[in-house]
Amino acid sequence: MSALVEIRDLTIRFDATQVVRSIDLTLGKGGVTALIGESGSGKSLTALALAGLLPNDAVVTGDISWPGRETAPKPGRDIGLIFQDPMSSLHPILTVGEQIAEVLAAHRGGRWQNYCAEAAALLEQVGITPGTEALTAYPHRFSGGMRQRVAIAMALAGDPGLLIADEPTTALDVRTQARIVELLKSIGQARSLTLLLITHDLAMAAQLAEQVVVLYAGQVMEAGPLQRLLHRPRHPYTAGLIATSLDLGRPRTLTLPEIPGGLPDPANLPPGCPFAPRCPKVSTLCRQVMPAWRGSIGDGVACHHAEAA
């Protein structure tokens, strides 16, 4: 699979605090990659950096290259983004039709009113029918799941090659979650999209992803094909995530499994492995020395105690 984008040694800093430290990531063309991590792990920022949408006060170093592209990709046209809360990420006083059509107008020229038919077609593709009726509606009229469909339609309008979905189902109820995941899957396949899924929900990711990258405190802990990670996790954090993800069909126990401790403060990271304070396999080495990456980009682990591949 050829690479759509290669991220090397990405770091993101706000003032003196480093929130993302040295991430290497490759997205294969047409593939589905899941970026897993708890909130605060730097996963959303990495995605924003990819799309070039970081706020002005972010200091970014590293290299993001797009082999096979001559010009830098433009958000909306080459990269489509879907955010977490569809109610607040849709404009409250513009019609759904305008919010979709304006993407078409922005990248193809002319007034948004000229693109109503296409907007209606997009709405039908994401499962909102009849599309023409929905055009004149306002977002507050829709349910959460439908709003997220609108958001997906907006992201697809520019016919992008890459779709980034940042926690697309977290704000939705379980049944709707499943339907949105289905939609993403079918859309991705129909349009041969490269999909980057950002989530803390391993179970949700398992339904879509082929490759998984596990992030903790702004660093990659483990990466590899989904099945291998699920069945033979090499990093204790990955193992912990799997254990605490109830939907993955684990046998029910009386006590809820959890990863003890809390997230580290990015301004005050201890030396050594950032997961050390919470790791069941921790040793003195872990607390002092940052584990090196063992393996290749997108397939490996950073742990002193990782099981051999």
């Binding site: 958000p75 983004l81 955010f83 809360d85 409250p92 513009l94 306002y138 507050h140 009229r141």
Partner: protein, 330 residues
């Protein structure tokens, strides 16, 4: 209009009226008691002005009904109001309603003009600063509006008179129109317009700053909203984001603010009218107070209160039309 929308309207109307009644009562009784508490009454003021015989005091008091107990007078007045009789102005020797209607036009012309000008300049000014908060343009807007807040309108008026009426003689010194000029039609309109330029300018500065700041603050809030991040993620041009996404969302609270200014429409021009010798309601209120003319003052205050209630209602309805999230059956 769907039936539910109509019921909605009726409901709002009734609710507003219900809220208005106690307010009107408090205002009426309050004003009345205030005049009662004042040293001297209308007779004293009249005699002081006209230099009449002190022996007339008892006679006048009886004639004007001022020798009755205050509760009687209050109830009589309120009863009169309910039948549309706003009383008789002893200071002007004419029915209150006539006096007020005569002068209301001048004041409304002045204050509505000032508000219109303030909106026309203030909103774009607010957008000018709000499209990039923290930028040099923004800080300039903030500084200028801060200065306008500190300018006393009447002093600005005086300085403008000095510059344009006295030194340069481009514009008239005061009044609403050239006296005894007998102009009609367009010529009259232009004459009035010439007279109102300076007072309107003096009055509009404060409102200008207010509207500009409100617009800017609104925009600053909207810039932080997630749906603006979405707009950027869609690759929408910055100009469209500013005007179609941010301004559109930030305009709504400004509408409410405009309505709130209705309270100042009738009385807010007292000093300006004084400086420019404009025969309006502001000066009328001043005279009513100094002449202890209770019915006249009450008339003005009640008219103002009604105007405020009306304006609040209109703003409410306008807001419901502009914001698609309200007033529609889900």
């Amino acid at each position: 209009m769907t039936p539910s929308f109509k019921n909605d309207l009726l409901g709002i109307l009734l609710r507003r009226l219900a809220q208005a009644v106690p307010v009107l009562l408090i205002v009426a009784v309050g004003t009345f008691l205030l005049m009662e508490a004042a040293p001297g009454d209308a007779v004293d003021a009249y005699l002081a002005k006209s230099g009449g015989d002190a022996g007339l005091v008892a006679q006048l008091r009886a004639d004007w009904g001022l020798n009755q107990h205050w509760t009687t007078r209050l109830l009589a007045y309120l009863a009169g109001v309910l039948t549309g009789d706003f009383g008789f102005s002893v200071a002007f020797n004419r029915p209150v309603a006539d006096v007020i209607l005569e002068r209301a036009g001048n004041t409304l012309l002045l204050t509505l003009g000032a508000n219109a000008l303030a909106l026309a300049i203030g909103i774009p000014l607010g957008i000018f600063g709000g499209k990039r908060p923290g930028s040099f343009k923004d800080r300039a807007v903030l500084s200028v509006t801060l200065l306008f807040y500190a300018l006393p309108g009447f002093w600005v008026g005086l300085m403008l008179i000095l510059a344009f009426a006295v030194k340069l003689a481009w514009l008239p010194l005061g009044g609403v129109e050239t006296i005894a000029s007998d102009l009609t039609g367009l010529a009259r309109i232009l004459d009035i317009a010439r007279h109102l330029v300076l007072p309107t300018l003096s009055l509009c500065l404060l409102y200008l700053a207010l509207y500009a700041r409100m617009m800017r603050t609104g925009m600053v809030e909207v810039w932080r909203a997630p749906f603006i991040r979405t707009a950027r993620a869609k690759g929408i041009a910055e100009r469209r984001i500013i005007y179609r996404h941010v301004v559109r969302a930030a305009l709504l609270p400004v509408v409410t603010l405009i309505g709130l200014q209705a309270g100042a429409l009738l009385g807010g021009s007292v000093v300006i009218e004084s400086v420019f010798a404009i025969p309006g309601l502001g000066r009328l209120a001043f005279e009513a107070v100094t002449q202890r003319d209770m019915p006249l003052l009450m008339g003005i205050v009640l008219a103002n209160t009604l105007l405020v209630i009306l304006a609040t209602l209109v703003v409410d309805l306008a807001y419901r039309r502009l914001d698609p999230r309200i007033g529609q059956a889900a």
